[in-house]
Subunit: 193 residues, 2 copies
DNA sequence: CGTCTATTTGAATGTACTCAAAAGCGGTGG
DNA sequence: CCACCGCTTTTGAGTACATTCAAATAGACG
């Protein structure tokens, strides 16, 4: 098991003794998820938060017409999950699946709670993660409410250049909130690159 | 100064000794804000997070066409601010103003950081607040991406019945992401009450 | 009252969607 | 290695939801 990406990420915000680090690592679980396989489905109670170490994961909701709406993409180094379900330990509204063969490191919610009590520094760590997530959501909401589709697309490309390359357009369309047909037309008609 | 609403709110998530409570209270600042007055404007560096004790506050962004897009309403008992600016201490993108004469309790970002170090329980408190904020943003994003305007309105009414009553329709329209004219038509034409 | 802002209403317009069908692309098995 | 199958992308025509602009009406506040 190679937890170096996650540990590196943790050390950016807090420092741990060797002992604390071992304890933290002992709570980690690893799982490989093949393309198109689910980590969570709607109605599941999420086991806990997941940190992507390989591949690309994604969370999305399904509307009553059967359309997918991407809430988040998670390349390596990012966390993913249905926050509602994780926090409240109730059935969630999101699907979480792998866009490419992926590998995640995850913790049980109960272990996470234990971790908070045993090593309060992790309260800080996840407090900071939460702050960053809120900032990201705030930005996305601003874009969604105030920019036309083509600028939302431009912003997506600026923000996630690597994803823009590696994702099917269909997924990007779902993220920025348009149909795949419309995104295709946008990209091909006005300024044909 | 009456901090009871805020303290009550804090005690829902953590317990404090008398001494800790006094220290916390010593960091608090109070400010009255009259209707239409600003707490923060775009480009300001936010002093720190604000907790509403009276009135209704709101945060919004301004797009290049001069239209407002409400990010959040904050009646008493809610926190408000430009999270990006608070966390990074850089110029923000949001305006924060009072919809009605209001009163807030706020902390300097620097005092908040001190508080985290001096009383780590506050790491937990704000970690939990952050979790809840993320859940709220996740829900709003799902609605924005997957529901038609009329259902976003219905959901708003369900979620904030008290606000639906007390806010000008214009504000609600801005929150759900439609023009005031369109909201008016929606409400008057199909099912006339 | 009078002014300023919010709401309503209408007509014209535009952005994005639906449905349908063709073309492209990638992976898989023979 | 090629052929086929399924999925993604493209393209087009018709449509719908929501906006813009304009003007009239109604409310709120001093």
């Amino acid at each position: 098991m190679d937890f170096s990406l996650l540990l590196e990420h943790v050390f950016k915000h807090i420092t741990l003794t060797q002992e604390e680090q071992s304890y933290f690592v002992s709570l980690l679980n690893v799982r490989k998820i093949k393309k198109k396989q689910y980590l969570d489905q709607e109605g599941d109670i999420s086991k806990g938060p997941a940190f992507v170490t390989r591949g690309i994961m994604r969370s999305y909701s399904l509307d009553k017409n059967g359309f997918e709406h991407v809430i988040q993409f998670a390349p390596p180094g990012w966390w993913i999950g249905d926050m509602y379900s994780i926090v409240k330990q109730k059935p969630g509204r999101l699907y979480v699946d792998a866009i490419e063969d992926s590998e995640i490191v995850w913790l049980w919610k109960s272990d996470l709670d234990r971790l908070y009590s045993d090593i309060p520094k992790f309260e800080r760590f996840f407090r900071i993660l939460g702050e960053n997530a809120i900032v990201a959501f705030e930005n996305r909401l601003i874009s969604t409410l105030s920019l036309p589709a083509i600028e939302r697309y431009a912003q997506f490309c600026r923000l996630y250049p690597s994803l823009t390359e590696s994702l099917p357009q269909k997924q990007v369309a779902s993220y920025i909130g348009v149909t795949p047909e419309f995104l295709s037309k946008m990209l091909n008609s006005p300024a044909p690159k």
